[in-house]
Structures are given as structure tokens and as C-alpha cells.
Symmetry: D2
Subunit: 296 residues, 4 copies
């Protein structure tokens, strides 16, 4: 059984199965969630339930959080009864949320001042990857902290890469969302041209996916888009949140990203129609909406 006692804050669609994998790997686990009932299954499997994030930290050597956005991380990490309050020098804090690289660096500095290491470790792979323990985890922070936490990270993911100092993990995650967003745009425009030309889009996907224009999105979400199956996967609203982080980081870094800016506007068409809960493959509808004769 691993020696490190692990804490987990945030038992949502991603966090709950990640925490479950830690239990399965034999880690002693303390958890907290805003809605405590979400912890029931984990407690039944042996996790301890703490009354707040500070208590999780006090009971753990390594504390993980997995929440929604920068303000949520600031609240559970730095707020009243937050992780920083409960953490001791020598503890390590791992945040698996996708947030602003700048906020990640600021939080890391606050923890470092108390002798607590922090890794920003955003994840990719969806709820399926979270359950299967096959997430990609892109990690920023000190190498020594990364190495110490590797067994914990390996219990939750498969591709685990240290990419640089604090904030780097978030930058790489944003790069992931840039690429994902534009690959989805590629899929959408290809399907749209097919439909306008009266060519079978499924056949097109078959041949294009196998060659130099292929992508994970084309192979995996293309067929769903063609079949008008919009079940998520990854929701439009979450992609928009991540693209907002991308464009805020680009603003801070004075870096023009015209493609990402365009993709954000296209996804907004879906939100404007109340479809923020659809999977990202619904982007094909945002384009089809504009074209002739195939308004959805």
C-alpha cells in the first residue's frame, strides 16, 4: 500500500472517478465536496469524509483539487477553510482543474511561501478517461515535487508529462484546447462542404480520417456529427470556458491567435441557441445553419 496519504477536493464528473482510482490503487484517501452526498460511494469504498478543504489538507500528504474555473480553485485553495489553511510545510498540492496559467502561478507562490509545493496538473481525456484511469496529465511545477507525486498521478492517468515550471501545465492544456477547437472547426467545414455538394459525408470521413488530414476529432466525433448525435462527450459550454482562458492568456502574452478567436465566435452560435450542453461535435450545426438548404 502506498505511503502517501492523499486528499481530494471536488468530486464532480471528473473528480469522483479519479478519486475512485486512487482508492483502487491503495491510497489512503480523504475527500471533500460542496455537496457531501457525492462522496457516498467513495466513503463506502473506504474514503474518509472531511468537513472542509482545510481538513482534507490537514489529513493528507498530497492534496488534489479538481473543480471548474479559476475562481473555484481560488476559493478551495486560498479561501476560508481552504487547502492552504490546512496544509503543512512538506505537503504537496496538485490542482487538476483547467484554469488561467497566471492564476496557477499566483496560487503556487502563495503555497510556496508556506513551504508547500504546488503542481498545476490539468487533465485531458473526458469522463471516460477519468473512469478508465487513462487521462493525459500535463504537469507544471518543480521536478522534485513531480517525481514525488508520480505514483499518485499514475493511479489516475496514462500519459503523464512534466512540461516545465509552475503554470506550464495550464499553458499546455490551453494548447490542447486550441488544437481541439480548430480540429473541430476542420471537421465542421469539411462536413458542411460535403453536405452542400450533396456528397456522402460518412464516405468523406472514411477516406479523409485515414490520411494526412486525419485527427482524433475527425475519427471519433466526425461520425457522431454526421449522424446528428450531439450527446456529450465534452460540452460546448466547457469548450467555451477553455477558449476564454486561451484568449485571456493570449491577451496577457500579447499573442494574436485569430483562429482560436474565430472558433470561439462559432461555438457561441450554439450557446445563443441554448445548445451549450451539447457535445462539441455540434459545431457542425453552427456552420450548417449558415449554409443553403441544410438548416438544422
Amino acid at each position: 500500500m502506498p505511503n502517501e496519504r492523499v486528499g481530494f477536493v471536488g468530486l464532480g464528473i471528473m473528480g469522483e472517478p479519479m478519486a475512485g482510482n486512487l482508492l483502487k490503487a491503495g491510497f489512503s484517501l480523504t475527500v471533500w465536496n460542496r455537496t457531501p452526498s457525492k462522496a457516498d460511494a467513495l466513503v463506502a469504498e473506504g474514503a474518509a469524509l472531511a468537513s472542509n478543504p482545510a481538513a482534507v489538507a490537514a489529513a493528507s500528504d498530497i492534496v488534489i483539487s479538481c473543480v471548474s474555473d479559476s475562481p473555484d480553485v481560488e476559493a478551495v485553495a486560498l479561501g476560508t477553510d481552504g487547502i492552504l489553511e490546512g496544509a503543512r510545510a512538506g505537503t504537496i498540492y496538485i490542482d487538476c482543474s483547467t484554469i488561467s496559467p497566471a492564476v496557477a502561478r499566483t496560487i503556487a507562490e502563495r503555497f510556496r511561501a508556506k513551504g508547500v509545493g504546488m503542481l498545476d496538473a490539468p487533465i485531458s481525456g473526458g469522463d471516460i478517461g477519468a473512469k478508465a484511469g487513462t487521462l493525459a496529465i500535463m504537469v507544471g511545477g518543480d521536478v522534485a515535487d513531480f517525481e514525488r507525486c508520480t505514483p499518485v498521478l499514475e493511479a489516475m492517468g496514462k500519459t503523464i508529462v512534466h512540461v516545465g515550471p509552475s503554470g506550464s501545465g495550464q499553458v499546455v492544456k490551453l494548447c490542447n484546447q486550441i488544437a481541439g477547437g480548430l480540429n473541430l472547426m476542420a471537421m465542421a467545414e469539411a462536413i458542411t462542404l460535403c453536405r452542400s455538394a450533396g456528397v456522402d459525408a460518412a464516405r468523406m470521413l472514411e477516406v479523409v480520417s485515414s490520411g494526412a488530414a486525419g485527427s482524433w476529432m475527425l475519427t471519433n466525433l466526425g461520425p457522431r456529427a454526421v449522424n446528428r448525435d450531439y450527446a456529450p462527450g465534452f460540452m460546448v459550454d466547457l469548450m467555451q470556458k477553455d477558449l476564454r482562458l486561451v484568449l485571456e492568456a493570449a491577451e496577457e502574452l500579447q499573442t494574436p491567435l485569430p483562429g482560436s478567436a474565430l472558433v470561439q465566435q462559432v461555438f457561441r452560435v450554439l450557446q445563443a441557441r441554448g445548445r451549450g450542453g451539447d457535445g462539441t461535435q455540434a459545431i457542425v450545426d453552427a456552420l450548417s445553419l449558415l449554409g443553403p438548404g441544410n438548416q438544422s
Copy 2:
């Protein structure tokens, strides 16, 4: 030895190795090229050299052309001493060039009026695929013609898909170029954000390529782009020609493709700097040029 006598018009960087693979597969082959010396190696391996495309057609059951753009195909197919002049009822004409779907349909009608079937069969896979016989071939035209030509196509390619009636092969090829172009834009913006943020782009590629934002471009051209290796591969000038065909087809079909329109403008930045002969991975420079401190 296959029964069909095959003709090949256009022995360029793609056509010459494709014709060579037909010889290797045992087909009787007649060839023509504007610069006849390009045929020397094929003639040495047993091909006959004809004096013009009409003569190629007269000597063949199936005639293939592989040239550059719509006007080139119109010239070798419909012009004086062109393929249509030499072809008999029962001949099949296969055009492997990437051209306008509308032009492909028009040419097919002209051949059909003389009892000659035509397949539009654009290819993907580059000179490497042409040599290795591993091209993807997306074929539009009559199913019976496609089936009759399958042995010939299989001598040149690996993924061979009939995608619909005349013109459909070109539409699917344009979809391929849409997807390729936007996947390259994805690669470029991800690398650019990394560089601006001071994060190692090679590490980013490693983790992003393996997940849901991965693509052939990211895996295969990403490392070259990061290493500023701009050798083609597929040249910027050719990508621009194909994006022009994409946008002309979209205009004809009244289909908005804002992403492809943006990508065309971005590649133009390279052409404006005399870099049309670079490989398409150079797109990363078009973006870096705009950003802070990392002007190439």
C-alpha cells in the same frame, strides 16, 4: 499480366512514380509528358512514349492524367490532340489531378457524350505515397467504371474509396484540404502560444498529440515546425492553390467557410515573403511573425 492497356499523361513529381507502379504491376503502359525527357526512365522500364495525349488515348483502354490545375486538365483532356480526341467508346478516363468539382463534372459530360466513362480520382499522400503505392484515392463517377478500374487504382494506392457520382472525388479531396489546412492552423496556434509563454513546444506536442486534440499534422509536421525545418512535404503554394479551389467551390455552393477563408489569408503571409516553396508546416512562422519577441 493485367489485360487493360493503360495510358498516363503528366509525369511530374506524383505522376512519374504512379506510372512506375503501373509498370511494376504488369500493365502495358503508354505515356506522354510535355517535357519528353521525364519519360526516359519509364521507357527504359518498358513504357511506350506517345507524341501527344490523343495518341496515348488511342493506344489505351484506360487513360490517366495527373497534372496541376483545372486549365491543365482542360488542355490535356479537351484541347487539340487531347485525350478526348483519341479516346474510343468504351475507354475510361481517370483524372488524378486536384481540380474544381464543377470542371470535373463538365469534362465528364464531354467524355460521356462520346461513350467514354470518366472518373475524377484525386490523390492524397504526397510523393512518398506515390512512390510507395500507398496513396489515398477518392473516386467520383459511375460505380461500374470504378469497379472496372479498381485493379489499376490498386496498383497506385492503398485507400481507394468510391465516394459518389462525377465530381464527388474532387469534393472529398477539397474536404481533405480544408481539414488539413485547419489542422495546420491548430498546430501553428498551439506552438505559438507555447513559445510566447516560454513553454517547451516539443513537450507540448508530445502530450497533445497523444490525446483528443491529436492529428496527423501535429504528430508528423509539429516536430518539424518546432525545429524550424521547413523542407516540403507539401508546399505552401500548392496548399494555396487547393484552398483557392475550396473557396471557389464554396462560392458556387453558397456555403460560408470562414475558417478556410482565414487559413488562406494566413498562408498568404508566407507567399508574400517568398516562402511559397516551403512546406506547409511553415505556417507557424506566419503566426509567430505577429507575436512578441519571436519573429523569425
Copy 3:
């Protein structure tokens, strides 16, 4: 009465009133139109009707054409029975159509070889300006030819500017369309934000039009757009044709114009919905279509 005998080819919505103003100014006028009945009113006012463009040229010292697009000008200028056939050394040919600058230069060279000067002289101001004789005319070609033709041009327009050698008039006209298109986009996005925010767009126009963000489009077409009055004015289909010329010229000059490329895609949304005959102020609907709750 002016000495120069003038010919006019192309009596459409613009050409007919322009020719009428030449008559009013006292010029001896010979005309031709594909549909001859369009010339009836002019003939009744004293114009001679010729049987083809060559005959117009043979009867004139200065020949004007005003047709739709590059191929139309090539046909009436260079085709069988075209202006070039009938023109003598010393004649001047003025083309008032909006066409490609490159085609304008090529035609000018063909005429120059026969000793005939050519001015490219595209016009701006709409049918209202054509009737009122208040067109803006942007003229490319030799200064001496321009000066000789000034009385003729002044009979048709008000702002008459020589902008450079052959083709320059067309370049300036394309600049005019770039600016017009983007100013319309400005109008559309401003109105759209107002509507989404529940703010009275007419009030917004009132204050914005009067300041540094004001434009002719905002002042003149803004109120029509707000009132959903889509009568042309200048039709979406014609704006698209001109934006196509803009982007083709930009391609030839290897000049990225990302804003114009975007505007072309936005106008296409209207064409896809069968609204190519609406006035350009309908662009506001292309955007509103994308937004929440105010779909038209």
C-alpha cells in the same frame, strides 16, 4: 455643343442614365445594348442605335462601356464585332465597369497596340448617382487621355479623380468596396450588440453616426437596417462579385486581407438564403441570425 462624338455600350441600370446625361450635355451619341429595346428612350431623345459594339466605335471618338464583370468587358471590347475592331488610332475607350485590375491592364495593352487609348473608369454612387450625374469616377490611364475625356466624364459624374496608370482606377474601386464592406460589417455588429442588449438601435445610430465612428453607411443604411427595410440600393450579389474581385486581386498581389475575406463569408450567408437581391444593409440579418432570440 461638344465636338467629341461619344459611343455607349451597355445600357443597364447604370449605363442608361449615364448615356442620358451625355445626351443632355449635348454630345452626339451612338449606343448599343444586347437587348436593343433598352435603347428606345435614348433613341427617342436623339441617340443613334448601332448594330454592334464595333459599329459604335466606328461612329465615335470616345467609346464608353458599362457592363457587369471581366468576361463581359472582354466580350464587348475584344470579341467579334467588339469595340477594338471598330476603333481607329486616336479613339479613346473608357470602361466604367468594375472588373479585375489585371484584366483592365491587359485590355488597355491590346487597345494601345492599335493606337487607341484606354481609361479604366469605374464608378460609385448607385443608380441614384447615375441619374443625378453625381457619380464618383476613379480613373486609371494616361493623363493626356484623361484630360481629353474630362468633359465627357464630367457629364456623368461629380468627383472625377485620375489615380494613376492603367488598372489604377479599378484598384481604387476595389479599395472603395473593401471600405464599404467593412463599414457595413461595423454597422451590422453595432446593431446586433444593441439588439442583444435590449438597447434601442435607432438611438445608438443617432449618437454613433455623429462622431468618430460615423460613416456614410451608418448614416444612410443604418436606419434602413434597423427598420428591416432591405430594398436595394446596392445588391448583396453585386457586393459579393466585387469582394470576389478584391480577393482575387489580393491573391495576385499576395496581400492578406483577412477582414475582407471575413465580410465575403458573412454576405454569403445571405446568398445561401436566397437574399442576394436584397440591399447590402441586409448584412445585419446575417449576424442577427447567429445571435440569441432575434433570429429574423
Copy 4:
């Protein structure tokens, strides 16, 4: 002499001359600025200097603020020693800063709860308009409050329009910036095409400005851009701040604004090169940078 005692918080490049015009109009004036020395000239002309915004409010019937961005307004209005602390029921608070419409509404509610009316009253016209008293002022809030404040507003501006309830003034100001930004893009692309084509851009401006594609920007900033005179006027950094507010408001309202999103990316090219202090006409360089042979 007017009866209302007026307070002014924020004596920057805009606020100082606006306050001066209130003095000239005969209003009794109390002022505050973070750097008190900025108030010296006004005090010499008769203004009273207060020690904080609360003290300004306590001494005034109508309090005006003119600072930079949403957080600045929140600080002087709602912070410690802020305007809300010093204001009494019956006071009116006018904010002339350009900020988020949502923040403006929130602040208005806070003041309303204390019986203080609030007008959001952003201004347009630059420092020249502030000095000359010719600003455009777009006002959101209660009509009765607007009418009571009209004499004060008329002392500072010329075009003064009530556009709707709280927040509407800010929405209209954002529309103004959308239109201004896209009109500048229009100017930049027109000049760029001229330069690439070797046509005199000054001549182009002359003819285009006078017609249907004309705008204030083209007439007033076009010649400066052509002459590479980049002195502000209105700085790129401020335009970017306002475009950020535009896109945040559009996000909140789920309204796609692809043109404004593009313009923001183009202005960023200038910021990335350290030119955020240039006037907005420098946008022409962001485009020229991309084109052939005319890199600045």
C-alpha cells in the same frame, strides 16, 4: 450661476478639461484625484480640493467620475472612502468612464439602494473634444435623473443623448467602439491593397472618402496613416481595452461578433511590437507587416 454643486473624481487627460468646462459654466466644483497635483490648475480657477471621493460626494449634489476601467470605477465608487459612502439620498452620480455594462448596472443598483440616482454616461470625442466641450455623451439611467443633469452634461459635451435604462450608455459606447474599430480595419485594408498595387493611397483616400464608403476614420485618420504619422489621437492600448469590454459583453449576451474579434487580434499585433501607445491609425502597419515588400 447654476444651483447644483458638482463634484469631479479623476482628473486625467479627459477629466481635467471636462472639470475645467464645468468651472467655466459657473458650477461650484469640488474635485479629487489620486495624484493631487493634477488639481492645481483647477484649484487656481476656484475649485475646492477634497481629500477623498467620499468627501467630494459629501460636498456635492451631482458627482461625476472619469477613470479608466471597471475596477477603477468600482474602487472610487464603492471602495473605502468612495463616492457611495459620502453620497446622500437625492445626490446623483454620473460615471463618464467606459466600463462593462454589467458592472455599470451593478453599481447603479448599489447607489439606488441608498436613494442615489446613477447615470452611466461614457463619452466620445477625445481630449480635443473634452477641451472644446464638444464631446458626445451617451447616457443610460432614469429619465428624470438625466433631465436634472442635462445642464451639467451640456457644459461638457455637445451631442447628449439619453439611450435607455442603466447600462445602456455603456452598450452604446461599446457599439461606438465596434464601429470605430471596424472602420479602422476598412481603412487599413484599403490602404494596404493600394500600396501592394503601387497605387497612390492619398489619391484613393480622396475619392473613397467622399462617397458611400466614406467614414470619419477614413477622412481624419487615413491621411495620417498614409503619412506614417502615428501620434495619438486615441491609443491602441485604449482601443484594445474597449474591444475587450465589447467581447466580454458579447460573451455575456451570447452574441457572436466575428468582425470585432478579428479586429482585436489585429490590434494585438501592434501591442506585441511595443506600439500600444501609437494612435489607432497604426493599424495599417499591422496589415502592411503581413504583405509583400512594404514591411514597415
